[in-house]
Each structure stands twice: as C-alpha cells, then as structure tokens.
C-alpha cells in the first residue's frame, strides 16, 4: 500500500466504527433452558449446583436455577450452519470482508471481556444488540501488520433488563509470506532446525573453535614469556611476541558472575538458559553456559566442572555443571 492508498483505506475503515452488527436486537434461538445449561456445565467441568441441580436451587437464596453467566453469548450464537453455509451477512462480516479484500486476511481472536449485571433464568429470552466499538491504529505485531477491531455486545432479557456486556477483540492482519518451499529438485521438505549462532572463524580464533569441535578447550600461551591469554589474540600484551602455542584446560572452574536469559528468546537455544563468566583453574576466564542446575540455585563462587558437548546438530560447546560439595 502506498501512503495514499493506506489513507484511503483507513478513511473508509474507520467509518465502520459505531455501526450495528444487526439491524435490530437479535433474539436468542432458544429460551434459556436446562438442557443447554447442562451441556455447557458438563463441557466446562463446572459443578456449581446453582446451574444444574433444580432441587438444590429451589432451596437456595435464588429459589430457582440460573444460567452460568459466562454462557451469556452462547444463546445468540449462530449454529453449525455457519460451517457449511458461512456466516450470514451482518455489520461485522462486512468489515471482515473489507479487511480481506485489502490483504488483511489473517484473523486472530485476542481477548474477550465480559461484565455481568443480572442473572439469566430458565425461560428467559436474551436479546443481543452489538456494535463495532473500536478499530485501532495500524499495529505491527509478531503475527504481522494489521488492526485490532473490537465489538461490544449488550445482552438484555425480555423485560429489557441488562444481563451483561461482552467486548470481543480480533486482530486482522496481513499474514507473512509462507516460507519458500524447498527447491523443486526433490529436496527434503523438512524444516531445518535452527542451531546456535556460531563464531566466524578467522586467523586469530579459528584454531580454538576447531579444537572445540574435537572436544578440547585450549588456552593460548605466549611462547616467549609463557603468559596465558583468552580470548585468543595474535600478540602477547606482556612482551609483544607473536609466537604462541596452547595448553588444554582441565575445565575446573568457579562462577564469577552469571545471568539468566528470559527475553527475547532466540531460536536454536534451550531455555532456561544460564550464561556465566567462569574463572578457570589455569587463571583465565571463559564465558559459557551453566547446565544441570535450577537457575535459582546458581551462586557466585560456586565450583563448576566443564565438558565439551554437542549442544545441537551443528555445535560443540563447553558446558559447565555444578560440582557436588
């Protein structure tokens, strides 16, 4: 959509606000009755005798059965015919069609708010009077770009008494493009499982990751003055020598600091995810994961022991476990 198209789209869109869903209040298909209440209560697992036990209800302060308040909207709900024949045209279906025509074909019910003012009793007829109450500004969500629309339905009984209200919010959005199919050459259609983000391997660090792939954690050592250094770099900061070799770490360590990652979560990583700065027995530090322990039990100063493990299909990494005291 160009900015001009969007402006035109929104101008018409917001004219839907305030429109009624039905030309006149829509009467429930059936009067409030015991059979439908029993079905509802059974499905919901609601054992409240006020809904289904007539004998109990007769001796209660109400003196009769009532319908579960949350069932309010069910009495006016379209039946199974919707699945076969589609929803009859109303104010809402016109709005949905308008969205669909402009590419906002995705629908996601986001939330329902109900308020109750009176109880529905056996034999009551319920009337639903609904409008399109609100349409949001354009929003970008994880599902895509679109608009939240909200309907407001008021339910009254045959004497015009307000039983309750229901606000229903739906997000209408442009669904993201479907992921491209695997190449036509008959390649597997299985989705690739994401793996951890790897370090790029260059001249100064590739050797370290190559050793890690083979199950070893090395520490760079200056050949001239024997100083250990990590992360690796091409020159010794103590004596400026560029000659170096390495020693293999025992991976005995202690937690110097740590964090627990909560948000955002990245594909390819397992949560809970604890990352720590670990002081190794050799005197250098390494950043790694702490595993095999509940996050609330991790403490600064805790002794840990590492081993190099395959953490996903493509990744070998040192992982540190708590050492039993």
């Amino acid at each position: 959509m160009t900015p001009e198209e969007r402006q035109a789209f929104e101008e018409e869109l917001y004219t839907f606000v305030g429109r009624p869903l039905h030309p006149e209040p829509k009467r429930s298909y059936d009067a409030v009755n015991e059979a439908m209440i029993r079905h509802w209560a059974e499905v919901m697992g609601d054992k409240n005798p006020a809904y289904t036990n007539a004998e109990w209800a007769a001796s209660s302060r109400r003196g009769e059965l009532i319908a579960p308040p949350a069932m309010m909207y069910a009495w006016n709900q379209e039946g199974y015919a919707v699945a076969a024949e589609g929803r009859p045209s109303d104010g809402l279906s016109d709005l949905v069609a308008y969205f669909d025509q402009h590419g906002f074909t995705g629908s996601l019910g986001t939330n329902v708010d109900q308020e109750f003012f009176a109880e529905a009793k056996i034999g009551d007829a319920l009337f639903e009077d609904a409008i399109i109450e609100e349409i949001s500004e354009q929003k970008v969500t994880a599902r895509g770009r679109g608009y939240f629309l909200q309907t407001l339905a008021k339910f009254t009984n045959q004497s015009g008494e307000l039983i309750g209200t229901q606000r229903f919010r739906v997000f209408k959005f442009i669904p993201p493009e479907a992921p491209p199919k695997a190449a036509a050459s008959g390649a597997s259609e299985e989705l690739e499982v994401p793996t951890r983000i790897h370090a790029p391997r260059g001249q100064d660090n590739g050797w370290w990751w190559d050793a890690c792939d083979e199950g070893k954690v090395l520490i760079q050592r200056c050949k001239n003055c024997q100083t250990l250094r990590h992360p690796p770099r091409p020159m010794c900061g103590e004596c400026q020598s560029t000659d170096w070799d390495s020693v293999q770490s025992t991976l005995d360590g202690e937690i110097f600091s740590f964090v627990e990652m909560h948000y955002p979560k990245f594909p390819g990583y397992k949560y809970p995810l604890i990352v720590a700065v670990i002081s190794l027995a050799e005197g250098t530090r390494i950043i790694s994961n702490v595993v095999g322990i509940d996050s609330q039990d991790v403490k600064i100063g805790m002794k840990v022991k590492g081993k190099v493990e395959q953490v996903d299909e493509k990744t070998m990494l040192p992982q540190f476990y708590p050492v039993e005291a």
């Binding site: 100064d204 770099r233 091409p234 400026q240 110097f256 909560h262 530090r285 996050s295």
Partner: protein, 388 residues
C-alpha cells in the same frame, strides 16, 4: 592558537607488503604499531590515543589489548576511504596540541589482496576483529545489551547492599520526572513498586522497567567559540571539561576479563580528565544527566564521578539524591528509561537546559554546573557543562 610546531611524528613502521600476508588484519596492525613504538624508543604503555579510518576492520580496543597498550583517553576515526590518510594526522595533532592526549598511534592495516578486495566492489562478507569478538558470546546465547549489562550487575549486587531497592528508586524517580515532561514517551504514566516488581523479566537480574526505551527521534547540539556564544540568543552553556576513555583490557560490552567487573574503569579515567580540565570537583556539580540504558549503570557512574565511594551508590541513591530536591537531581527529563532513547544526545540537550535554567523539571536550587555522560560497557566519556 596555531598548531604550528606543537606536535611531531616520532616513530614509523611498515610490515612487509605481499599478496597474501597469511595473518589477520589485527595482527598486521599490531606488528606495525609495535615496530613504530620500538622505532620511537617508546613502550606500549606510553600510548594514550589512537586514530584510524572508519573503513578499518580493527577496533582500537582490540588493537590496544593485543599490543598491551593500557588506558586510552583519545580515539577517533576519519571517514571517506583513502581520503582519511592525512586525516589521521589532523586528528592526532588536534588531540596532542590541545592536551587531550600525549602519544597517539595512527594505524591502518588491510589484507587488501588475500581478503576483501576493493576491486570486488561493495560485496562479500568481512571477517572483522569485531565479528570474531562477538563470536565468543553468541554460541552461549549472550547476545543482547541487557545480557551484557546483567553480567556486571549480578556481580555488583553480590558486592553491595540494597542494590535492588536502588534500581527501583532510579527507575521510579526518572518516571516521575517523565510523567511531568510532555515531550517524554511516558508523559503522565507513572508506575508503582508493584508494577516494577511484576514486570517481565528480561535478563535476570534485570526486569522490564530496568531497561531503557527503544525510540525514534533525533537530537542535536551546536558548539562554537565562547566569543561568538556571548552574542547569540541564549545564555551560553560552557564546556568546562570533557573526557573520553577506554581503560586497559577493554572489550566492547564484554570486558569480563578484568580482575573486578563490578566497576567501570573507563569512566573513572574520563571523570579524572574532565575534572582536571575544568578545575571542578564533585562538590561543584549541581545536577546530572547520567546515561541510563539500564538502571544499574547509573549507580556505577555515580561512583566513577566521585559522588560517593565505591560500592556505596545504592545508599547515595536511596537517600533521595537523584530527586528534584536531592543532592544531585539526575535525568530530570526522564532519561532514556522514560523520556526517549536517542543514544544519550537527548541527555546533552537536557544538560544544556539545566544550565540555562529551562528544564521542564528545573530544580528549585541554583544550577551552576551539570554533568552529562555517555554509555558504559563500551569505551566511554563524560562532559562537565556550566555557566560561561
């Protein structure tokens, strides 16, 4: 003042030239730097400044660490490819002649034949020292600003008392300021202790309200001579002192290899520089705009700038120091936690307003001098502003 005869080149070096060096650009830069220092008869620890091309792939701090250069108090980069060459001299001369630094390495290294060839145009991946640096953290999942700062924060909490309470106080005081600032994204939206405690966890120990906004916007400030400033429209805001620094053993956001990480030595150096230039002391500072990407980093900076002793910032904050009637009204615009996140430059605007007396939350007391700081975890700095 002319720069004529104020500075000189004292050491020079090249590595060998080839079609395939067989080693990294970082190593080439390190060797050239080492050999130029040897040529001058200087040690790595004599260097306190660096300058290079924006196109160079080697970070100043990576090079400093490789060569064993210690604290840096000047670094800069010049854009426009080969057009930068004598720009390095330009930067170095200004820094040395003005006293901002004493000994500067101008460097450039490239594997321009075996690596990325300019003849291939603007395509292809670059294997930079910076990309390799992040590679020590991404495989473990440590890859957001909140995660890096949380690592220092956990350590700081371990060494101090009432840190959590102080983090709330910082977030809360700033939101109170923002609630009264019509320009703030959180205008008229205060929060409660319950809101703070029940907010989403981001990276423990940081929760949502410990973290700054992500916002769109722009900020700018104009600087000219004191002479001209006097003839212009507003009360001039003088720059009394300004320091920048990268302390020894620095990594960008992940300096986890220093003896203690619950501190920001780069800001300690920047503060020392700015106080020295200005002749001011912490007692002379009336208000502050302290970089606040996350609540704990405000605490460490209060210590760096000498408003309290090391590891005592939580008590300083809990005494109400940051409030409008406190010892050091701070982030009176709401800060980046609650006004907007424009990378600290909206903070410079607010600091100037405090000196002018025109902050939307101008404290009742007279404001003579104001501190404004840059982001930490990276090489950083701060400036002292005041009346001319």
């Amino acid at each position: 003042m002319s720069i004529c005869d104020k500075t000189a080149i004292v050491g020079i070096a090249n590595t060998e030239f080839s079609k395939n060096s067989g080693r990294s650009e970082l190593q080439l830069a390190a060797e050239a730097t080492r050999d130029a220092l040897a040529d001058a008869g200087l040690k790595p620890s004599d260097v306190d400044g660096m300058t290079t091309f924006t196109m160079d792939n080697t970070d100043e701090i990576e090079l400093a660490r490789a060569v064993g250069i210690g604290d840096l108090r000047f670094y800069s980069r010049v854009p426009h490819g080969g057009g930068a060459a004598t720009g390095l001299i330009h930067q170095a001369v200004m820094a040395v002649a003005s006293g901002m630094a004493e000994c500067i390495v101008c460097y450039r290294s490239l594997n321009g034949r075996s690596g990325h060839r300019y003849s291939s145009g603007v395509s292809g991946p670059l294997l930079t020292a910076d990309a390799i640096h992040w590679g020590w953290y991404t495989p473990y999942g440590l890859m957001t600003p909140a995660s890096w700062v949380a690592m220092y924060s956990q350590r700081y909490m371990h060494l101090t008392e009432q840190c959590q309470e102080a983090m709330f106080e910082i977030a809360h005081v700033q939101r109170e300021y923002a609630a009264k600032n019509p320009a703030a994204l959180f205008y008229e939206q205060p929060f409660t202790l319950d809101d703070y405690e029940n907010a989403k966890r981001i990276v423990s120990p940081l929760k949502l309200l410990d973290c700054c906004l992500e916002s769109d916007g722009g900020s700018a400030v104009i600087i000219t001579t004191a002479e001209r400033a006097k003839d212009l429209k507003h009360k001039p805001v003088a720059i009394k002192g300004v320091g920048q620094a990268a302390a020894a053993n620095m990594e960008s956001m992940t300096s986890f290899y220093r003896p203690e990480i619950a501190a920001i030595p780069s800001m300690d150096i920047a503060a020392r520089e700015a106080y020295q230039q200005s002749g001011l002391t912490p007692d002379d500072i009336d208000a502050a705009v302290i970089y606040d990407a996350f609540t704990p980093i405000v605490l460490w900076q209060l210590e760096s700038w000498g408003f309290c002793e090391s590891y005592k910032a939580p008590q300083f904050v809990l005494d109400g120091a940051l409030r409008s009637d406190g010892r050091l009204p701070t982030n009176t615009h709401g800060g980046q936690l609650s006004e907007a996140y424009i990378h600290g430059v909206n903070g410079i605007v607010e600091a100037a307003k405090l000196v002018r007396g025109s902050s939307v939350n101008q404290p009742a007391k007279h404001i003579e001098n104001v501190l404004v700081t840059s982001g930490v975890g990276v090489p950083t700095g701060g400036a002292l502003l005041g009346s001319l």
